[in-house]
């Protein structure tokens, strides 16, 4: 019995560790893109802030980071406000059309790391 409980506990811990990191599996890290242009809409909200950006070809939805991390890295609500020009480097979604998650963004010559 004790052996069985130990087994289950170990299994639970291992699977927990494997899953504990938010995997971002539905983004293609092999095809990084840079989207640059004015911010059309901005939501400074949890679980992730999101902006839409009018790029050269289309309007992208850019998924940023949780608001607490955004703030602590200096990428405040004002930095990602509508109308600001942004350059976002990140990975396109394999699920949602015209969506990408940003690894870092640059506004006014200042780069903010989001991971």
């Amino acid at each position: 019995m004790i052996r069985a409980i130990t087994f289950f506990a170990a299994l639970a811990l291992l699977s927990g560790a494997a899953l504990a990191h938010h995997g971002w599996g539905s983004y293609d890290a092999g095809k990084p893109v840079t989207v640059a242009g004015p911010i059309v809409t901005s939501k400074f909200e949890n679980p992730h802030a999101t902006i839409t950006v009018r790029g050269t070809d289309k309007v992208w939805t850019v998924t940023l980071a949780p608001t607490s991390r955004m703030s602590s890295r200096g990428a405040t609500e004002k930095v990602v406000a509508v109308g600001n020009n942004v350059s976002a480097y990140g990975y396109p979604s394999t699920v949602e059309k015209d969506e990408m998650r940003a690894e870092r963004i640059t506004v006014d010559g200042k780069t903010y790391e989001l991971r």
């Binding site: 019995m1 004790i2 409980i5 289950f8 639970a12 699977s15 927990g16 899953l19 938010h22 995997g23 599996g25 539905s26 939501k43 400074f44 909200e45 949890n46 679980p47 949780p66 608001t67 607490s68 703030s71």
Partner: protein, 163 residues
Amino acid sequence: MTDQAPAIFIALEGSSFAAAIRQSLWLYPAANVGHIIALVFFAGSVAVMDVRLLGGLAATAPGRVIGRARWFAIGALAGMAMTGFLLFAAEASHVSLNPVFQLKLALIGAGLVNVGLYEFGAKREVEGLPPGAIMPARARIVGAVSLLVWIAVAACGRSIAYF
């Protein structure tokens, strides 16, 4: 927000209540942490009950151990439901369509049905048993099903972000 979700979940996500959760710097992460803390107590108390039903912790009287652990489980489940509702409300339209979330709800339903099976079935055979007694087959089945179902619920919960 997706308009493919049932109207009630679109309304929930669009409510000022849900907006307040998203716009607060700390509320969403606090609900996330609270959900895990409640999970720790829930998983712990459920494991004690299930292990006892399966014949472990044999030096204790099963009825007494389960009776005490049950109150921890009920309190923790209420905590999980409250924090879980906050996390759900913030993104209700997308999450309601998430297949793993739907599976998780179905499994929670199955887990609660299993509780009912114990309460109205095996409980009578278990309550009066002394420490060290052989556990009845029905009690062992309920314990095994409970352990598997709640582990699956936890795995689904952790997997929602990946689907």
